[in-house]
């Protein structure tokens, strides 16, 4: 068999129901590896840094960050948008690709959904921290209170709050319910009493009876159908936080589709940035095959082209509108004090992904990994450009002012990365990282089709 034919496979040919179950079960049940332990400690240290940052923030307030008038939204909002966007690919892989009956999603959907849950959890913290008095964040929720005050339903911030809550809870349900059969497998594979009880409780007594499966499949289909419009609405709401404001560069109907595309772009980049090391260090090369990486890379390229198109349209619309403030804003992107941010974005998000047209690059894991990291960095700077470059020169020139991040800004950024990886390392260690029941179904289907 030639190498290229092997590359086209979604699963190594030698896998059977037994070998696949043993392989994935072993990953969760075996003792800690040294590499895992190093990753765990590093992410734990960063998480502790994040916790320290939160302590400082609660003690002193948002003044520890570099924000001030006119740039009152900076790292907290950049991080928020960046993280919530990263979650999109997980929902897209498990929802949209399920509805489209794409078989290649089966190897990826579990860790991609985990990525979604953790990214959205991290993301939701930032608007709360940014509140000034974070302990009153629940005031934005409608609940009976003695002040007899209700949320302002016409505000995009309230919509966004409900969107994040709905998205987080639906993602957790989708992820956990989808994991029940695999937790049942782990319960049956576990050989120590502690692990049997741990996975037994998590599996809720799943038995895999035909009637179980019928309801389960019905629910999975419905959740996939709900998750797709949900995730599109979530990123549209995030965009409306901006486009409801009368700020040059924000007040545009372009924003909702632009944010959805950007979310897909960075989400697929994170799916690759997590998948490539997992594949290598956990020996998942036979389950996450070159074909999967190739498909993810193609999705990332497609989303990237759409994002690039949006950058171009923003310039066009500014000049087409003839609005001097809009024109000033886009001119500042090109040659203003933050021009270096724009050119970083162009390099990372527009130029670097063009390499993905080449099949050789799409099959080269190192190149793919570097490009996906560049896209993640580029998407972070894109949010910096959208937020800071729009705010730092408001309509009145006497109010102009620059934004400079402080050490605490950086601590929150890198600490949140640590928190994400902390949760992800725990997931990789204890939970089934591949949807084994779907892979068994895939083996069955591949066998039938010969």
């Amino acid at each position: 068999m030639s190498a290229s034919m092997h590359d086209e496979r979604l699963l190594a040919r030698e896998h059977t129901y037994t070998s696949l179950s043993d392989k994935v079960g072993e990953l969760a049940l075996r003792p800690n590896g040294r590499l895992w332990f190093i990753a765990f400690i590093c992410s734990l240290l960063l998480t502790l840094l994040f916790v320290a940052g939160v302590g400082e923030l609660l003690a002193k307030g948002v003044g520890i960050w570099g924000i001030n008038i006119p740039v009152a939204w900076a790292f907290a909002l950049i991080n928020y948008v960046w993280w919530i966007a990263i979650g999109m690919a997980g929902t897209f892989i498990s929802g949209a690709l399920y509805l489209a009956r794409q078989k290649w999603r089966s190897s990826l959907n579990r860790y991609a959904e985990a990525m979604t849950v953790f990214a959205v959890s991290v993301s939701g913290l930032f608007p709360i921290f940014h509140l000034g008095r974070p302990f009153f964040f629940y005031w934005v929720a409608p609940y009976p209170n003695r002040m007899a005050v209700w949320p302002q339903w016409r505000s995009s911030l309230v919509w966004d709050f409900l969107a994040i809550v709905a998205y987080l809870l639906v993602s957790i349900m989708f992820w956990y319910v989808g994991m029940l059969p695999d937790l049942g497998s782990l319960r049956d594979q576990a050989r120590t009493r502690g692990k049997q009880i741990f996975y037994g409780l998590l599996a809720l007594g799943w038995r895999g009876e035909a009637r179980h499966w019928k309801r389960f499949e019905s629910l999975n289909l419905l959740l996939a159908g709900l998750a797709v419009p949900l995730v599109f609405s979530v990123h549209s709401m995030v965009a409306l936080d901006f486009s409801e404001g009368l700020v040059p560069g924000w007040h545009s109907t372009l924003f909702p589709p632009f944010f959805v595309a950007g979310a897909l772009f960075s989400g697929f980049a994170m799916a690759l940035a997590l998948g490539i090391p997992m594949r290598r260090w956990l020996g998942l090369g036979d389950i996450i095959t070159p074909k999967h990486l190739d498909n993810l890379a193609k999705m990332m390229l497609a989303a990237g082209l759409f994002v690039a198109y949006n950058y171009a349209v923003e310039f066009f619309m500014a000049y087409y509108s003839g609005d001097p403030y809009e024109i000033t804003e886009v001119r500042d992107r090109l040659v203003g004090p933050y021009a270096w941010v724009f050119w970083t974005v162009v390099f990372c998000n527009v130029l670097a992904p063009q390499l993905l047209w080449s099949p050789r690059i799409r099959r080269n894991t190192v190149a793919l990994f570097v490009i996906s990291l560049l896209v993640l960095i580029g998407m972070w700077f894109e949010r910096f450009m959208l937020i800071v470059n729009s705010l730092f020169r408001p309509h009145l020139p006497s109010s102009w002012g620059m934004f400079y991040p402080t050490l605490w800004d950086l601590i929150f950024l890198f600490g949140s990365v640590g928190l994400f990886f902390f949760m992800f390392t725990l997931f990789v260690r204890w939970l089934p990282i591949v949807a084994t029941f779907e892979m068994r179904k895939l083996i069955h289907e591949l066998k039938e089709s010969g």
Partner: protein, 177 residues
């Protein structure tokens, strides 16, 4: 001790999903209507072979979504029109277009919740004890075993066991309660 112990039924292990589906059809034709099939992944043919009718999951999902949508619109109407009306720029109190986003998100949330609850309740989960777990080999059912259980609380199982073995079962056990 075995005398008093009640029986749940007979459990047969098969190697492939096709053999299991075939066995389900045969035992049901032979008059053993009360059968269960356990598989490590969903096997569509089993629905028809076992005569499983449609589930209540879609209905519960729809009901959850409907409650979320209508409930959220009603709540916003009461809040913005009845309870705490604020005139802003002459806009109507009942600003329906602005009420849609919140209603939409809560629709998604409650629809998903309804579906998950219906799936768990329909499957009687969580349920940590079940007689089938008493058979040691049943742990294969979540990995690579295809298991048929014929409910038979009393009576002689020898005819059934013979039949199951004839259908290609690699092992037949009695399941105690």
């Amino acid at each position: 001790m075995a005398k008093e112990q009640k029986r749940y039924g007979c459990m047969a292990f098969f190697e492939t999903p096709e053999a299991l589906v075939e066995a389900v059809r045969s035992v049901r034709t032979a008059g053993y209507a009360d059968t269960e099939a356990y598989t490590p992944f969903p096997v569509e043919e089993l629905d028809e072979a076992l005569g499983i009718s449609s589930t209540s999951v879609p209905l519960a999902t729809f009901a959850g979504g409907a409650i979320g949508f209508v409930g959220m619109l009603v709540m916003q109407y009461i809040a913005a029109v009845v309870n705490y009306p604020i005139r802003v720029g002459g806009r109507p109190f009942a600003s329906w277009p602005a009420f849609i986003p919140a209603a939409l998100e809560v629709t998604f949330l409650l629809a998903a919740t309804g579906g998950v609850l219906a799936m768990l309740m329909g499957n009687r989960l969580p349920k940590f004890y079940h007689p089938v777990f008493n058979v040691q080999r049943f742990e294969r059912a979540s990995q690579d075993g295809f298991v048929l259980v014929v409910r038979m609380e009393e009576g002689d199982t020898s005819r059934l066991r013979q039949m199951l073995q004839g259908l290609g079962a690699v092992q037949v056990d009695e399941v105690s309660v």
